[in-house]
Amino acid sequence: MTCERALEVQAYADGELDAVSALAVEQHLETCAECRVLHDGIVEMRAALKRDARYYRPAAAFAQRIRSGIAHEDRTAPRRATFGSRSFWTGAAGGVAATALAASLALFVMLPSAQDQLANDVASAHVRSLLGAHLIDVASSNHHVVKPWFAGRTDFSPPVGDYAEQGFPLVGGRLDYVDGRRAAVLVYRHGAHVVNVFVWKDDGSLSAREKDVSGYHILSWKEGGLFFCAVSDMESSELRDLSGLIQKNASG
């Protein structure tokens, strides 16, 4: 017969429990001989595996083959731009990094009021989303996919719509942390531009407005108890168009 807490004991041995649950298991181990045997068995087996189990390691030639395979892959993959050597592009990438750094510094040195603080935070979250790999958590142009994705992760439900017909296809969604708040972010594309629309529950502390930070346009508004903040490098008139579509969707 197996103790009903066996899996818990295993999880304890695997370091998967939080401190409180771990403590509870430790207490259980004091009274349950069967679980003690199980626990010690796992620990003993782990030591044996560490000592004796084969860990296959690739020969140097194998690693080399992979590297050259990748290099080959890289060369044969479609590339449009043909001018310039690698060093040119490395230089260009360096320039990009420097520009990004400059942009973030520009954001940093502004002296913020609460509202400015928000604009800065939103703009840097936008830059961050574009520079890092973290633009979207859920990639889908289907609002039936994106909306339920948010359901388990936020305590509000942002209006999710795809406006591909109007030139703003939905790319996906993600969660972000802006100005001390957890925000749902809807990501849209417009031509070569990315738009991040941050949404959170309106707490009345901020008012709707338009603002420019370091070349990014930021437009915020309130609708149905939610606070929206859209940011992009596209024309502010285009940003207003998207805002209009979202507001129409939210109220309609």
Binding site: L49, D52, A53, R54, Y56, R57
Partner: protein, 190 residues
């Protein structure tokens, strides 16, 4: 000014593709290549000698699919690809890995050390035999947990199984391993 920076992440903007690709390769070398050893180990434990081809295939696939990698743990991401490549290669046939013959030189980092006593070598051989005899789903779970230090959640992601299933497979794998290991050891006892 800041617009130039956006080229890195706009896959739909072809004129900036090249910068994006060099950046991509650099990131791949930084994030994924360090886990080559783990990929190789898992591939060998899943597929025996054929694992070497699987590992190579998986690395190239990973490179091609890298622009779809949205952060998270690169090791878990890579191992999931290795596992998929393995099951594609074997056509999901259920079999246990044949143990490599003795003396194959890439089988172990701590391969034949003359100092190691015959008893130690024998004990190790039996343990490895017991691991190899485990059914696929138990063996892969055990390898991911005990050799690759993957968390339950990561194992769930890699194998596409719910966490509850990972936990019960792991328990089963350990029980079976213990049983077979004990049997092996007993057989040899005088």
């Amino acid at each position: 000014m800041a617009y130039a920076g956006l080229g890195l992440v706009y896959p739909w903007d072809n004129s900036r593709l090249t910068i994006a690709m060099d950046e991509q390769r650099r990131r791949f070398e930084q994030l994924v290549l360090p886990h080559l050893g783990a990929a190789y180990n898992l591939a060998r434990w899943l597929g025996g000698r054929d694992g070497e081809d699987v590992a190579q295939d998986a690395m190239l696939r990973a490179f091609r699919a890298f622009d779809g990698f949205r952060g998270g743990d690169a090791k878990a991401w890579l191992l999931a690809i290795v596992r998929n490549c393995h099951y594609t290669a074997v056509g999901r046939t259920r079999k246990t890995v044949p143990l490599p013959e003795q003396g194959e030189n890439d089988i172990a980092s701590d391969a034949p050390d003359p100092e190691v006593s015959a008893i130690d070598a024998d004990r190790a051989r039996k343990l490895n035999q017991a691991i190899a005899s485990l059914p696929d789903e138990f063996r892969e779970t055990l390898v991911l947990r005990e050799m690759e230090d993957m968390s339950y959640r990561e194992i769930a992601e890699i194998t596409g199984a719910p966490i509850g299933t990972v936990m019960s497979r792991l328990a089963r794998a350990r029980a079976l391993l213990r049983e077979r290991w004990a049997a092996e050891t007993k057989e040899a006892a005088p």
